[in-house]
Amino acid sequence: MTARIDITLTVNGERVTRSVEPRRHLIDFLRLDLGLTGSHAGCEHGVCGACTVRVDGEIVRGCLVLAVSLDGAEVTTIEGLSDSGEVEDLQAAFVARNAAQCGFCTPGMVMAAADILRHHPEADRAAIREHLSGNYCRCTGYQAIVDAVEATLEARR
């Protein structure tokens, strides 16, 4: 093991400083060092999207980013996104349409859907399905999720 490295970054609007091992992934940093358990480790290969969080405005895979690379970065997790109220309507649509079953993929799915709301307001069903293809859900048939995102986009137009 290599010596720990100090990093200071902003997570959900709060400045945090920690000493981390160079091998520490962002998802483990969030879950284990900061207690932000809303983001989940699903595949650890950057495939399933359960660890999706926002770094400096863009969504990334928490299992593919090393925490030491984030000195000075701004990170938003599902906890911060929820508290900000930015996607209250999207989350309400998820609830109304039962767009979550076991919920393990859901925080990542909401982060990815929030990205659609921010960057692709004109997305149609096919575009929504394409954009969410980096987020696996094993319980729903994806249809309720697509419905929820589509309804939120329409309501915002």
């Binding site: 989940h40 650890e44 495939v47 929820s82 989350q91 979550a100 076991c102 925080p107 094993r138 048939g141």
Partner: protein, 798 residues
């Protein structure tokens, strides 16, 4: 007051009453926490003095464990202890997974960690416990374990042949179980038939891929002598019994707590050696031990399923009437039958379910269940159903093709009539009431068959090959003790619910069934709100704790709504009756002249509000002195429910799949999918519909993408989610779900299961659709998954 409630008397067919929550699309109460990332999965639980386990897993399919040297591992910073099979065997007994009613079944004793031999690649062999998971993995990397590789038995086709590697010599051979069901005279029917067609089907070995991996924290408290287990499981009470028995404790010393569970699909209802090892290590260490499988571990150690080769023949007369099915099923289950449900059930289900939707006289079906050096297989969503449905529906379509008959017409001529019930199928399954023809009619209202056929013909001219496929199916739900209990397994078919009213008039329900995302807690809340007469917001649901909930089986085999829901309804009605007795005394009224509507005691006839439940609660709990001395005032009621008339509540349905096959690339594009199913009373259409869709997607996944691929040495090659493909949103079509409702008369609620219907029928519908597209090209596929390579091979392009 004492009249037996009926579905009509409690308003089950009324959606206009304020309290009529049963049948309504009420959003689930636990979704807000899921969408905000505020759920509590097992890995989110932190305990004082917590240590973490990691396992060294066998790199060989079959090997003798020659030497284990832990000295270097013990030097790794943070490592607390290393455990071998021999260490754990001192506190933990082995288990043998057989069921008495599966005649002749055999399997070998399985230990949490093996004593002498590893029998599949990925089997846990040595455990390292450390102060973090990372340190435990560092410890595993520092272990020196010498394996002496042994010949492995991988191919199930040769598992019983002379020269096969007998995996457990004490068993004599690799045969776990075989059973033949026979009815009528198959040979005579085949000889006299107008057409006999046959095919060999293969269903690919695949697995559940719960997005939350298997997770457990076991904590042994030496002062109290108690083992508390936080566990991502479907069956907390079953696991309580398992941990107690294997660790030589009393059931009462073990508490299993199951908070949020990130998907199950049958994966989390089995006994896994690494999880029992965690409990044994906690027992030895006297402190909490956590283990969360990583994705590699999930692929090599979660149960696999559906590794079957099935040869089938169907005989029909000139009118398309089915005369006989003759089926031979072979399945490889890995080196051990999995405890306690056993790995023979899937093959047994194939025997029970083939031909299921149809009225025919002659049947022969054999399953042969054999050992092999691969990951153990066991019950995964829709156990056996997708296999039996693919074989049955594949053969029916082949018969239609041989007769030049439309696939809808041959089904219409052979599906069991809707007025034929009760009905006993050739392998002896008893059906209380099914609706195959009503479901087919409903499906044909939803599927624009004429337009699709016209489009199909038009596209063919342009070299575009589209196909439409159908699959009728039956599904086994609401199992009685005939599933496991009669075989000696300590698996409860009964379930219980306790419903209580608190002083503020709110209601709490505690149930033995569990939530893994199906919406169990949502429907229990609706049922109890409906039964007691309160707004749903006033009902809190507690599940997943053996210390607080009534004993029950948990959630599997589609029993949550049908069994757990009925127990909750009966408890709720009992509580309502008790509340009305108290209200009658307080209001000087006959209890049966009163009712409870939206949390208010009202006059039954006029609906006039008499008293809020909060006032009744205040009097009962704080001013009981003002009530008559002998007035019963138990505002807590518990009821249990078990099915008694039928071993299983069968459901039925039919699916249709519309696909396009690219004959250049072999890729299948899913265009649209339909499902009509009859799960009896639908408690919440919103939940049932998306659960059916999710089931369809899992069925399509197994039929198109998902495959546990092994090399010739028995190494699993698909151990990441980049290698093992699951369906993504862009590949999945929009799916249309319809319902026919034939409530079971066994319960007041009338609900049967719905969670496996989608998975049961989707692979067969897809296979028939692909073959409909390929038919003019003279090609056919029957081996799942239907990969581009297999489709191109069928087209003789590769």
């Amino acid at each position: 007051m004492n009249d037996m409630p009926t579905p009509e008397s409690i308003g089950l067919s009324r959606e206009d009453l304020p309290n009529s929550y049963i049948g309504r699309s009420v959003p689930r109460p636990n979704v807000p926490k899921l969408v905000q990332g505020r759920a509590t999965y097992t890995d989110d639980v932190q305990l004082p003095r917590l240590v973490h386990a990691a396992f060294l897993r066998s790199p060989h399919a079959h090997a003798r464990i020659a030497r284990i040297d832990a000295a270097a591992a013990m030097q790794v910073p943070g490592v607390v202890r290393v455990f071998t099979g021999a260490d754990l065997a001192k506190v933990c007994d082995p288990w043998v997974a057989t069921l008495d009613h599966l005649k002749g079944m055999k399997s070998a004793p399985q230990y949490p960690l093996p004593l002498e031999r590893a029998t599949w690649q990925g089997e846990p062999v040595v455990a390292v416990v450390a102060d973090s998971r990372a340190a435990a993995e560092d410890g595993v990397a520092a272990l020196l374990v010498e394996f002496e590789p042994l010949p492995a038995q991988l191919d199930m086709e040769t598992a019983l042949a002379p020269g096969a590697v007998v995996i457990h010599p004490q068993l004599g051979d690799n045969l776990v179980f075989t059973r033949t069901a026979e009815k009528g005279d198959v040979a005579a029917a085949m000889a006299a038939a107008h057409k006999v067609v046959e095919a060999t089907f293969v269903t690919g070995r695949h697995t559940g891929v719960t997005l939350e991996p298997r997770s457990i924290i076991a904590d042994y408290n030496r002062a109290e002598g108690t083992l508390t287990v936080h566990h991502s499981t479907q069956a907390p009470h079953m696991m309580q019994g398992v941990f107690a028995k294997q660790l030589r404790l009393e059931d009462g010393q073990v508490r299993v707590i199951c908070k949020d569970v990130g998907g199950s699909f049958g994966i989390k209802v089995h006994v896994y050696p690494d999880e029992v090892a965690v409990a044994a290590m906690a027992r030895i260490l006297g402190r909490p031990v956590k283990f969360v499988a990583d994705r590699f571990e999930s692929f090599v150690s979660d149960i696999h399923a559906r590794d079957h080769r099935i040869k089938g023949r169907i005989a029909v007369d000139a009118d398309g009437k089915i005369l006989a099915f003759d089926i031979d099923d072979l399945t490889g289950i890995g080196p051990y039958s999995v405890y306690p449900r056993t790995s023979a059930i899937e093959g047994n289900q194939v025997v029970n379910l083939c031909g299921g939707p149809y009225d025919f006289a002659n049947y022969r079906c054999t399953t042969t269940v054999v050992l092999q050096n691969k990951t153990p297989t066991c019950q995964y969503r829709a156990v056996g159903h997708p296999i039996a449905t693919a074989v049955t529906e594949g053969l029916v379509d082949l018969a239609a093709e041989a007769l030049g008959m439309d696939p809808i017409e041959i089904r219409r001529r052979n599906l069991i009539r809707d007025d034929a019930y009760p009905y006993t199928s050739p392998p002896g399954m008893r059906f209380e009431g099914l609706s195959h023809h009503a479901a087919l009619d409903k499906l044909l209202q939803m599927v624009p068959v004429d337009r699709i056929r016209a489009d199909q013909a038009e596209q063919r001219k342009r070299g575009v090959h589209r196909g439409l496929g159908f699959a009728s199916f039956i599904e086994l739900t609401n199992p009685s003790p005939f599933m496991y209990g009669i075989g000696g397994a300590r698996i409860s078919a009964q379930d219980g619910a306790t419903v209580r009213m608190d002083p503020d008039g709110s209601v709490v329900v505690m149930s033995g069934v569990t939530e893994q995302g199906q919406g169990t807690e949502g429907i229990l809340r609706q049922i109890v709100a409906h039964g007691v007469g309160v707004p749903v917001e006033r009902v809190k649901v507690i599940t997943g704790d053996t210390q607080t909930t009534p004993y029950g089986g948990g959630t599997w085999a589609c029993r949550g709504a049908g069994i757990g829901g009925e127990a909750a309804l009966q408890s709720a009605i009992a509580l309502k009756q008790q509340i009305l007795v108290v209200a009658g005394a307080m209001l000087q009224a006959a209890p049966d002249s009163l009712d409870i509507v939206m949390g208010q005691v009202v006059d039954r006839d006029t609906g006039r509000e008499r008293m809020p439940l909060a006032e009744l609660g205040r009097i009962v709990y704080y001013r009981g002195d003002t009530l008559p001395k002998d007035l019963p005032r138990e505002l807590v009621q518990t009821r249990h429910f078990i099915t008694k008339e039928y071993p299983f509540a069968f459901t039925n349905g039919i699916q249709a799949s519309w696909v396009e096959v690219d004959t250049e690339t072999g890729m299948v594009k899913l265009l649209e999918h339909w499902c009509v199913e009859d799960c009896g009373r639908v408690v919440n259409p919103l939940l049932v519909d998306e659960q059916v869709r999710g089931g369809i997607v899992q069925g399509l996944g197994g039929a198109l993408y998902e495959h546990c691929v092994y090399d010739e040495q028995g190494n699993l090659l698909t151990t990441t989610m980049a290698d093992y493909l699951v369906p993504m949103s862009a590949e999945m079509p929009d799916m249309h779900v319809g319902h026919v409702e034939t409530p079971t008369k066994e319960s007041l609620l009338g609900a049967k299961g719905a969670g496996e219907a989608g998975t049961a029928g989707a692979p067969a519908a897809l296979m028939n659709a692909i073959n409909d597209a390929l038919r003019p090209l003279g090609a056919r596929v029957t081996e799942q998954p239907f990969t581009p390579a297999r489709i191109l091979a069928a087209l003789s392009r590769i």
